[in-house]
Subunit: 355 residues, 2 copies
C-alpha cells in the first residue's frame, strides 16, 4: 500500500480462496481525492461473473475478493472538484472504476474497451492503494466522478442495480448493431442478461424471438415482451427460422451449438455473444460464409452509453426483475445461480444486511 493516500476501513464481504464462502471482513477505502465521490451502498446486484470470479473459473482472481459491480447507493461525500454530484444524490457504479483515458477506445468514449485495460470495479488493480479493487458487497465505495452514474428519477433502485452490468451488457450491442423497428431479433437464454435483452429489444421496436431450452420459460418470456418463443432443442422449430434473423443476442454462458443460431441469420446478420462460455466453442466456417454472417462478442458499454441506457430505462419503465436477498443468503444464492433458480437477478439489500 502506498503511503500517500489515507484510507478508512469499511465493512464488506469477501472470499479468501476459490472454495471459500463469502464472510464479513473489513476493507480499505481511500480518503476522497479531489474528483472522488463516496457512495453509501444501498443495493448490490449479484452477477454470474461474481460467482465465476469468486470461484476462479476464469483464472486470474486475486484473493481476498469482494465482488459486486451492480451498485446503487446514496452519495455520502464528494471531493473538492466534483461537479455533477452532491451529498444525498442517488448514484450508481457499474463494472469499471477507472481507465487510462488516453488510448483510442477511451478517446472514443468507450472506456469499457480501454486497452490498458479499464480498472474493474473488483478484482482489478487499485493504482492508488496498490491492492485489488473491492466491489459492491460492502458498506461504501469511493470512485472517480467520471465513473459514477446518475440514476434518473422514477426507477426502482433495487431493480436498477442489475442495469449497471446486465443492463448495459445487453443494451450496448442492441444499439451498436442498430436493432429497431422492422427487424427480427433473437435473444438466446432467459436469465439475468436475457430477460433484459428481451425488454430492450421489445422497447427498441423489434420483433423479438426468445430461444430457450426450458418449456417452463415460455409464459414468462411472453410476459416480459417476447413475440415468439422457440424451444432450441427442437430442430424442426429452429429450421423454420433459417436465414430470417437480423440479429441474435446470445446470453448463454454454457457450451451451446453456435452453428444452429448462425444458420438462422439473414445475409449480413450478426450473432453477438454476451454470455461467456469458459470453453472455446466450435464454429463451422460454412455457417458464416453462406450468408456473409458475423459472429461477434460484446462487453459492457462506455460511461456515456451507460448513462444513456439508464435514461432509456426511465423513459421505457425498464428495470430488472429481482429477488431481494440479504448478505446472509449470498452463498446460497450462488448455489441457486448454478441451477438457474432465480427470476431473474438476485439483489442484495445492503442496509437490511447490516441489521
Amino acid at each position: 500500500m502506498t503511503t500517500s493516500v489515507k484510507t478508512k476501513l469499511v465493512d464488506a464481504f469477501s472470499a479468501k480462496d476459490a472454495s471459500a464462502s463469502l464472510e464479513a471482513t473489513k476493507i480499505p477505502r481511500r480518503d476522497l481525492l479531489a474528483d472522488d465521490v463516496e457512495i453509501e451502498i444501498l443495493f448490490s446486484g449479484v452477477c454470474h461473473s461474481d460467482l465465476h470470479q469468486v470461484r476462479n473459473d476464469w483464472k486470474g482472481t486475486t484473493y481476498p475478493i469482494v465482488p459486486g459491480h451492480e451498485i446503487v447507493g446514496k452519495v455520502s461525500a464528494v471531493g473538492s472538484e466534483v461537479k455533477n454530484f452532491k451529498v444525498g444524490d442517488i448514484a450508481a457504479v457499474g463494472t469499471m472504476v477507472d481507465s487510462c483515458g488516453t488510448c483510442q477506445n477511451c478517446l472514443d468514449g468507450i472506456e469499457s474497451y480501454c486497452l490498458a485495460p479499464a480498472t474493474q470495479t473488483y478484482n482489478g488493480h487499485d493504482k492508488h492503494l496498490n491492492c485489488p479493487t473491492y466491489g459492491g458487497y460492502s458498506d461504501s465505495i469511493v470512485v472517480r466522478e467520471k465513473f459514477v452514474l446518475s440514476i434518473p428519477e422514477g426507477l426502482d433502485l433495487a431493480g436498477a442495480a442489475p442495469l449497471l452490468c446486465a443492463g448495459i451488457t445487453t443494451y450496448s450491442p442492441l444499439k451498436h448493431w442498430k436493432v429497431g423497428k422492422g427487424q427480427k431479433v433473437g435473444v438466446v437464454g432467459l436469465g439475468g442478461l436475457g430477460h433484459l435483452g428481451v425488454k430492450f429489444a421489445r422497447a427498441l421496436g423489434a420483433h423479438v424471438v426468445l430461444f430457450t431450452t426450458s418449456p417452463s420459460k415460455i409464459e414468462d418470456a411472453k410476459k416480459l415482451g417476447a413475440h415468439e418463443v422457440v424451444l432450441s432443442k427442437n430442430a424442426d422449430e429452429m429450421q423454420k427460422h433459417t436465414s430470417t434473423f437480423d440479429f441474435i443476442l446470445d446470453c448463454v454462458s454454457a457450451d451451446h451449438d453456435l452453428d444452429a443460431y448462425l444458420n438462422l441469420l439473414k445475409r449480413d446478420g450478426t450473432h453477438c455473444i454476451v454470455g461467456a462460455p469458459a470453453n472455446p466453442q466450435p464454429v463451422s466456417v460454412f455457417s458464416l460464409i453462406t450468408g456473409r454472417r458475423n459472429l461477434a462478442g460484446s462487453g459492457t458499454g462506455g460511461m456515456q452509453e451507460t448513462q444513456e441506457m439508464l435514461e432509456f430505462c426511465a423513459q421505457n419503465k425498464i428495470v430488472s426483475e429481482v429477488e431481494m436477498i440479504e448478505m446472509s443468503q449470498v452463498n446460497d444464492s450462488y448455489e441457486r445461480l448454478l441451477k438457474q433458480d432465480v427470476k431473474y437477478r438476485f439483489v442484495i439489500d445492503m442496509k437490511k444486511s447490516k441489521k
Copy 2:
C-alpha cells in the same frame, strides 16, 4: 433430361467418382435460349474448390463432375434477346450461372447469396436439362447473359481467369468492410486467394501485413505488395500486433488458430474467413468480447460487383500470378495443390489442350 430443350455434345473432362482422375468425355450443352450466350472457352482456372468437390471433401458432389468456375473465353453465339454481347467478344463466367431472381439477396443484386440458392457453375442443378451443371474444363459453355461478365481491354486473359473466383472472393469482403487508406489490414496465407488479397488490399490503399507459416514466402509477399510479413508460428511476433488491425482476410483452408488472429484486431475489427476449413474451428468467446470483435465469412460477390472488380483490375493492372498447364497435367496439378506447390494459380490453356 427434359425434351423441350435441345442439346449438343461438347468435349469436356470429368471425374466419375471421388477417387477417379479427370478424363475426356462428352457433355450436353443446351441450344441457345433467347437470353443465352455461348462461350468458346480459352482459359479455365484451377480452384482449390475444384479439388474439394471432385474428391467429395464437402460431400454432396454429383458424379460425373466437370469442374471449373474461372472461365474466360470468346463469345461464339448469342440468343435473340442478348443485348450486351456479340460474337467475338471476350467474356467470362464465374462461380454461378443462375439464381432465383426473386429472393431479397437477388433483389439486392447479390445473387451469390441467393436463398434458392444460386445455381453453381458446376455441381449445381441445371434446371433446363435436369442434370448437374458442368463447368469450365470443357470446350464451351452456355450461360444466361445476366451471368456473363465482360473482360475489360488490357487484362491478360489467362491471368484474368482466376479473378472470376479467387479475385471476387477476396475483393468482395475488402470492399464490403470498406478497406482503404489509413487502415492496417492483414491477409492470412499466400496462395491463390491470399496473393490476390494482398494485391487488392494494397491497391485499395491499406497498410498490408501478410501472415504466413513459410519463411520462403516472405520475399514473394513483399514483391506482391505486402508492407510487412509476419511468421504466424512466432508468438512473440504475433503479440506485437495485438489490437492493431482494422481487418484481416483469412485465406487459409486448413485448420488454424483463429483466436491468435482475433486478438490482433482493434475494437470493432473483423476477421473474415474466405478459405474454407472443412472442420469446425474452436473460437474463444473472450477473444470476441474483449474488443467487440467480429468473426465473419464471405463467399463470392454478386454479378455487378464482379464486373466492378474486373474494371478495378484493369485500372490497377491486377491479374493473378499463374502457372499455365494443359488438361493432361490437371490430375498432377491437383496433387501439387495439396502441397501448396503453385505460384499462385494453375490455369488450363483449353486451346492447347485440344491439340
